[in-house]
């Protein structure tokens, strides 16, 4: 009986995880699609096949190397099994603070917090930094850095994996020494690697970035700037003990207009040399297609929000709303969409704006209920509109979240009836099965 319950729970968990995994995917941005198309066109134009040299080398070299590799593999497996027989649980000691429920680190003084692990690894949080030990076990550790700067010295160990969650970024560590910081206000991520290698994944243009010893990575989400530089030895020595100085020296790596601005594109000084079209609105829809979201937002800052909202065309208002959403400025996105509704009530975009208002509200904390209202309004007016499937799917998800699966079930059934192969069909089936 217990086994049945366990199996049922595991099965429901699998359904839930599948739903989460399936629906969490962020759609490709127009910039990503453009980049892909450019790469494809370039490849078609050159007419080259993929990795021909690699394949040729593999065919020749693989035969020769196979026996050696096999022997090495056997050695590696034996070595790994030997290690597996001696798992050492990771424990730690804290200086300068304590651990609260949920793994949050609380500073007791003003000198920062040091965490020493039994296998030799060390984590140091600078004063005022907020961090969290989310998991510490024999397989490694998962540390969450909410804001501030932390230095890591991770002892190399093949069987352990350290993960550092830094804002929207994830740093995967094997054995290394590095300092990482995250400033949520400026949306700036910074990592200075002194030894070893790490992989950084998150909202960066390349998807993942592998760093090697001596490299310094700065990603500013507000300005979409990603810079990797090589550190010189003098700087390394200083920055280990004084991470505050890194924050001061870091901006020299990027143009002043991009990094020195403390709040990114939200405050563009009047002296910024963008004089070409100060009076006119540039075609924002074109800028959006090129992925230049910040230029659109800079234009708005320069001419004023009110002016932009009252002068922009229907198409450009939509582009502004998209740029604001991508840059996580829901207030501006909402204002643009409402302006679209007010100024162009007969436009087909006016109807689509209802759906996008729902999406915008969803990105705000506590915005689920108003989002549901926008989706309802869209569905009431859209008829067979292009976004009906999406709106119905979002309505189902939000209803489930706010009112429970009993209320969401009829919507799921309606969705499956109308869109049996839609992008929310999997979620709808999961919801029906689970309830």
């Amino acid at each position: 009986m217990t086994n049945m319950t366990d199996e049922s729970k595991a099965s429901r968990t699998l359904t839930a995880l599948t739903e989460l995994y399936g629906t969490s995917l962020e759609p490709a941005t127009s910039a990503e699609l453009d980049r892909g198309l450019d790469a494809l066109l370039a490849r078609v134009a050159s007419g080259r096949a993929r990795r021909p040299k690699l394949i040729r080398w593999s065919l020749v070299g693989a035969t020769v190397a196979l026996s050696t590799l096999f022997a090495l593999k056997v050695t590696s497996v034996v070595h790994r099994r030997t290690q597996a027989l001696e798992p050492i649980a990771l424990t730690y000691r804290i200086d300068g603070g304590s651990v609260l429920e949920g793994g949050y680190l609380r500073e007791s003084g003003h000198a920062g917090i040091n965490v020493f692990f039994n296998e030799g690894s060390k984590l140091a949080l600078t004063p005022g930094t907020r961090g969290r030990l989310r998991a510490v076990d024999k397989e490694g550790a998962l540390v969450n850095l909410e804001h501030g700067t932390a230095s890591f010295q991770v002892t190399p160990n093949h069987s352990r994996r350290w993960l550092v969650d830094v804002g929207p970024f994830l740093v995967t560590v094997k054995g290394t020494v590095f300092t990482v910081s995250w400033d949520p206000l400026r949306e700036q991520f910074e990592l200075r690697l002194r030894q070893g290698h790490v992989v950084v994944s998150g909202p960066v243009s390349a998807g993942e970035i592998a760093l090697r010893t001596g490299q310094h990575l700065i990603v500013n989400l507000a300005t979409t700037a990603t810079v990797i530089t090589e550190d010189n030895p003098e700087q390394e020595g200083d920055s280990v003990t004084a991470p505050e100085q890194q924050a001061v020296s870091a901006p020299r790596l990027q143009p002043p207009s991009e990094v020195d601005n403390p709040v990114g594109p939200r405050r563009v000084p009047a002296s910024v040399p963008r004089t070409a079209k100060t009076a006119d609105l540039r075609p924002w829809s074109d800028e959006l297609a090129r992925g230049h979201w910040d230029r659109i937002l800079e234009d708005v800052e320069r001419i004023g929000v009110e002016s932009a909202l009252s002068k922009a065309s229907s198409k450009d208002l939509f582009a502004l709303a998209d740029a604001a959403r991508y840059r996580r400025r829901p207030d501006l996105a909402r204002a643009a969409l409402l302006a679209e509704r007010q100024r162009f009530p007969e436009s087909p975009r006016s109807l689509d704006a209802l759906f996008l208002l729902g999406r915008t509200e969803e990105s705000r904390e506590g915005g689920a209920a108003p989002a549901l209202g926008w989706y309802d309004e869209y569905l009431a007016h859209a008829g067979a509109g292009a976004l009906v499937g999406e709106a119905l799917g979002r309505k189902m998800i939000l209803t489930d979240k706010l009112q429970g699966p009993a209320q969401a079930r009829p919507i799921a059934e309606d969705y499956l009836r109308r869109f049996p192969k839609g992008s929310y069909a999997g979620s709808a089936r999961a919801l029906i099965r689970a309830h």
Binding site: A10, L14, T18, G22, R134, D165, T172, S201, G426, R429
Partner: protein, 164 residues
């Protein structure tokens, strides 16, 4: 469609982009052989599935040659999800990684891409009964691994799905 499917199966933005580019390159090269325009969608799907299968095998081979476990990170929802949800995704992606290439493809195509058994069978060039067997095998193994992972069960206990 292709990029989304590749991201779900590989869990890596950069690898998914590579695969998508390869798929469309092949589609472009072979489009002239397509006699019925209506079959373009299934043709693209078949190309994508073939390339993904190759990529999964290639990844397995690379892991074998490198003597360590591949570090593939699920980069799904990295900007929109909270820490707990991203943690869940990472763990679940880790379980998907443990499935055989064929089972993993069938599972993702059926449960996330909502493809029918017939469509999967056509895309993967196998019989429908093999698809069904593969799906059952993948679900059973994943459920078993989830049940054996107290961390996953614990994480879900507080979520809406875990409530009875």
């Amino acid at each position: 469609m292709v990029l989304r499917m590749a991201k779900r199966i590989l869990g890596s933005q950069s690898e998914a982009e590579d695969v998508a580019q390869e798929v469309f390159y092949r589609v472009f090269r072979k489009a002239k052989l397509l006699r019925e325009p209506d079959s373009l969608r299934s043709f693209v799907y078949a190309c994508a599935v073939r390339e993904l299968k190759t990529e999964l095998r290639r990844r397995k081979l690379r892991a074998w040659l490198r003597f360590d476990k591949p570090e593939v990170l699920a980069c799904l929802g990295s900007r929109t999800l909270d820490v707990e949800s991203r943690d869940l995704l990472r763990r679940f992606h880790g379980l998907l990684e443990r499935l055989a290439a064929r089972d993993r493809l069938v599972f993702v195509l059926r449960r996330m891409e909502s493809m029918t058994v017939e469509e999967i069978a056509a895309s993967m060039e196998m019989s429908e009964s093999t698809v069904k067997r593969s799906m059952a095998h993948a679900s059973s193994r994943l459920s078993h691994w989830i049940a054996a992972d107290p961390g996953l069960a614990g994480l879900l206990d507080g979520a809406r799905w875990g409530n009875d």
